[in-house]
Symmetry: C2
Subunit: 226 residues, 2 copies
């Protein structure tokens, strides 16, 4: 009876986490849409959604800790709950990044766009897909899907480098574009970090399922590459 | 007897966490020193220390989970262990940021410095102090000290804005400085994020002690300010 109650609460907790995940995906989408369509009204919606995400963040943390305290789960369930707490933090940070993007957009839209935006929306789309797939890998305990998320992060990094090089050319040839170009570079770094958070989620899922820690191994490989 | 054993393990866990905290403070210090003194050899030391931090990160997570599973602590101890897990993540991210700073430095040092560095080291010093104080507030359950860490974050943000404005002036007057100036801006963003992580730790401590969630309230206030 107690076990059944625990399972129900756990299912409810996962549902809340996924709802929070859907919210931040929509926030990323709106933040980029507001930039591409030069529409500042999107930012208000994003700020409103952030409040909901913040509420869920606190609620999920509290429920997870209460479940651990009341039901004292062993091994597998404990690892699952620890993963929920970690993913919860990652999602909340993604929401922060979407808000940062809206704030940078505010400065960019004060003047005409430096260039048509093509790579940035593509980069954001991949990052958003990574978030979606990393959460799907969690609900399905799907290590292969989690592994694909890790691979996609390279594509995001490549786009970030490409965007940086292109904007650098613009800035050098026309210094009046510098402030807007830097804002675009900062937005691309925000998207990169969203990809990193999805990668963290995927690594947490692999660790949860396999009990094997890939977290630092993959980071080691991509770092120190200069 | 079991309780005494638990307390010993908990004390040992805290000690490991503080050791990890000292390591990242040294990493921040060396990363900035390498930039100011234009000495690339610091980066190697920082990369080596990151490996140690990564090892501790995994170890601390595992010990905290094992303590929860074996001893099934109630309320206060459970909250303490949850805080250890959270602070553990924050410290590991600070180490990542110190590594990022070394990587940006590598590009900057290929050419002469854009300007003498004064604000950046000052900003880093405050951020490092915030890390130190946030950890001290954890070991002492010192809410007043944690609150001071939150206040110091404003100073870091002001310096970041000041650095940005100054470098913008350099770039506009001499476009050949753009790539190095952007690297300095990115380093200042890394330092800003170190301050944010110290703020997260301070907020976690306040939550741990008071059971009151300041995490989103303070963030709300500083955001949306445009």
């Amino acid at each position: 009876m107690i076990q059944r109650h625990f399972d129900e609460e756990l299912a409810d907790l996962k549902k809340k986490l996924l709802h929070m995940g859907s919210l931040v995906q929509e926030m990323i989408h709106l933040a980029v849409k507001g930039l591409v369509e030069q529409d500042e009204s999107m930012a208000k919606t994003v700020f409103g959604m952030e409040n909901e995400v913040n509420g869920l963040h606190i609620e999920i943390d509290n429920i997870a800790l209460r479940l651990i305290a009341l039901h004292q789960p062993m091994a597998a369930d404990l690892r699952l709950l620890a993963t929920v707490v970690k993913i919860n933090s990652e999602i909340e940070r993604i929401a922060d990044l979407a808000v940062n993007m809206c704030e940078s957009t505010h400065f960019i839209l004060a003047k005409p766009l430096v260039k048509p935006l093509i790579d940035l929306p593509e980069m954001a789309e991949i990052a958003q897909k990574m978030v979606s797939e990393s959460l799907k890998s969690f609900t399905g305990s799907d290590v292969a899907l989690a592994q694909r998320v890790l691979d996609e992060d390279d594509r995001v990094d490549d786009l970030k480098d490409q965007i940086f090089r292109e904007l650098l050319t613009y800035m050098i040839s026309d210094p009046s574009t510098i402030d807007r170009a830097i804002s675009l570079i900062l937005i691309s770094r925000n998207i990169e970090r969203i990809g990193d958070h999805a990668t963290n989620i995927a690594e947490d899922v692999i660790y949860m399922v396999q009990g094997r820690d890939v977290r630092h191994k993959t980071k080691e490989m991509e770092k120190h590459k200069y």
